[in-house]
């Protein structure tokens, strides 16, 4: 329950300013436009790189969103107040859920834009795509939120978080990219779903256990 309260609090504060959401969406948009300039592709080539491109955009946007997750508690020592009244794992779970919702929102906004810019049909396989997106986004946010807690007091936090986050995300991104490319090409391969599930379960468990060490110092 405390976790839900924290998720609600984070989402409400975010909704008032919408600063992460706006910057993440416009960032995703810019990257999509830039890629179309960087590679002049025909239809087959576009389809072949579609999953990779989409998940690169999502991974960049995800890093932007989780970066703010714990950092917004630093001014006014809010984190100390939180840790003194709520268990560490509830804070972590709440913040992960809030980031998950935000990132999923960014993904749902940028998916149609991606389809529009690159002339790729995605509506036919939307539900399978949504499953892949939900599982991978949970993986990104759970690892990202844990690293956000780790790097909250680190110098050059904005630089350090991506350096640590992207290598950790690689197995997840490999699975998500392959499956998304398959789905957008019209062949439904969901065999890699177990890779995503293993990743999600493992990192959720480890993070929930270790977060007590990170937050209670």
């Amino acid at each position: 329950m405390a976790a839900l309260a924290i998720a609600g609090k984070d989402l409400r504060t975010e909704w008032r300013t919408r600063e992460s959401l706006n910057s993440a969406v416009s960032f995703a948009l810019v990257i999509l436009v830039l890629f179309s300039f960087a590679f002049d592709l025909d239809r087959e080539e576009r389809l072949a790189i579609s999953g990779g491109l989409l998940w690169l955009v999502y991974a960049f946007a995800g890093a932007l969103i989780v970066n703010r997750s714990f950092a917004r508690e630093v001014p006014n020592d809010c984190l100390e107040v939180l840790t003194s009244s709520v268990r560490g794992w509830s804070i972590f779970l709440g913040k992960s859920v809030a980031c998950f919702v935000l990132l999923l929102l960014v993904e749902l906004i940028s998916l149609p834009i991606f389809g529009l810019f690159y002339n790729i049909r995605w509506t036919g396989s939307f539900f399978a795509l949504a499953l892949v997106m939900a599982l991978s986004t949970w993986g990104i946010t759970v690892v990202g939120t844990a690293l956000s807690a780790i790097t909250v007091n680190v110098r050059l936090r904005e630089l350090m978080l991506p350096v640590l986050l992207y290598p950790l995300m690689i197995p997840l991104l490999i699975g998500a990219m392959e499956m998304t490319t398959g789905l957008l090409n019209g062949n439904a391969v969901l065999s890699d779903i177990r890779l995503l599930i293993v990743y999600d379960v493992m990192f959720t468990a480890i993070s929930l256990y270790l977060i007590e060490f990170i937050l209670v110092i």
Partner: protein, 226 residues
């Protein structure tokens, strides 16, 4: 005492290494298929095995630090990661040069190379983050958590890459299948022992540096107080 252990480990490792080189270059026969370049595996594979042993040490030390909060474990973890990363670099460099001869390209994005490179990047991140945290207790905890994350990530990386990278051109696991001719075994095993000995000597030097560092920090605080 400490210096004696370091020197004896180093000297023992070096003597074994010279003996091993004598064997590798002058005694054992040339591989029929690959020619002289195959001799690189006597460095390449032992470096990988040593690196992974040290990563194992690092994750155990990290868990021990979280449980005991004794800084010695933190020092052991960072020393092992640093030396392990160095051996990973040796492994990557020799592998790349071998690939240039055998495959004609420096880098192949083959399954094992890629997962090895991921390990290198993961632990490089660990080493980069440490100096960015000023407070020792915090630095120890955050690094330990990160080391555990990295260790948990490696099996999934291997799984992900095996699932997808069909272009596996790396030679099969000769060690597990027994494809290595008996005459090649002794230099191979001695190579592993050498690297483990030399690596342990380096870790001991690093451990001492870390404890001196802590001493410097406490002296600085003392000076501040005076």
């Amino acid at each position: 005492m400490r210096e004696k252990i370091i020197y004896s480990l180093g000297i023992l490792g070096t003597i074994l290494l010279v003996y091993n080189f004598y064997n590798i270059f002058l005694v054992i026969p040339i591989d029929a298929l690959q020619g002289a370049i195959y001799r690189i595996i006597f460095i390449h594979v032992p470096a990988a095995i040593t690196a992974f042993s040290f990563y194992g040490v690092a994750v155990v030390a990290s868990i021990a630090f979280l449980v005991r909060k004794n800084f010695w474990w933190d020092s052991l973890a960072v020393s092992a990661v640093e030396v392990g990363t160095m051996f990973t670099l040796v492994n990557l460099a020799t592998g790349s040069i071998w690939g240039r001869v055998e495959w004609g390209i420096w880098w192949a994005w083959d399954a094992r190379m890629t997962s090895q490179l991921m390990c290198f990047l993961l632990y490089l991140g660990y080493l980069l983050m440490r100096p960015a945290i000023a407070e020792p207790q915090q630095r120890g905890i955050m690094s330990a958590v990160l080391a555990i994350f990295a260790a948990a990530d490696i099996p999934i990386v291997v799984m992900a890459i095996r699932l997808h990278n069909v272009r596996t051109q790396h030679p099969g696991p000769v060690l597990e299948t027994g494809g290595l001719a008996p005459v090649y075994w002794p230099p191979f095993l001695i190579g592993i022992v050498c690297f483990l000995l030399l690596g342990s000597a380096m870790i001991l030097v690093r451990l001492h540096q870390e404890s001196s560092h802590r001493e410097i920090d406490s002296l600085r605080r003392e000076l501040h107080a005076i």
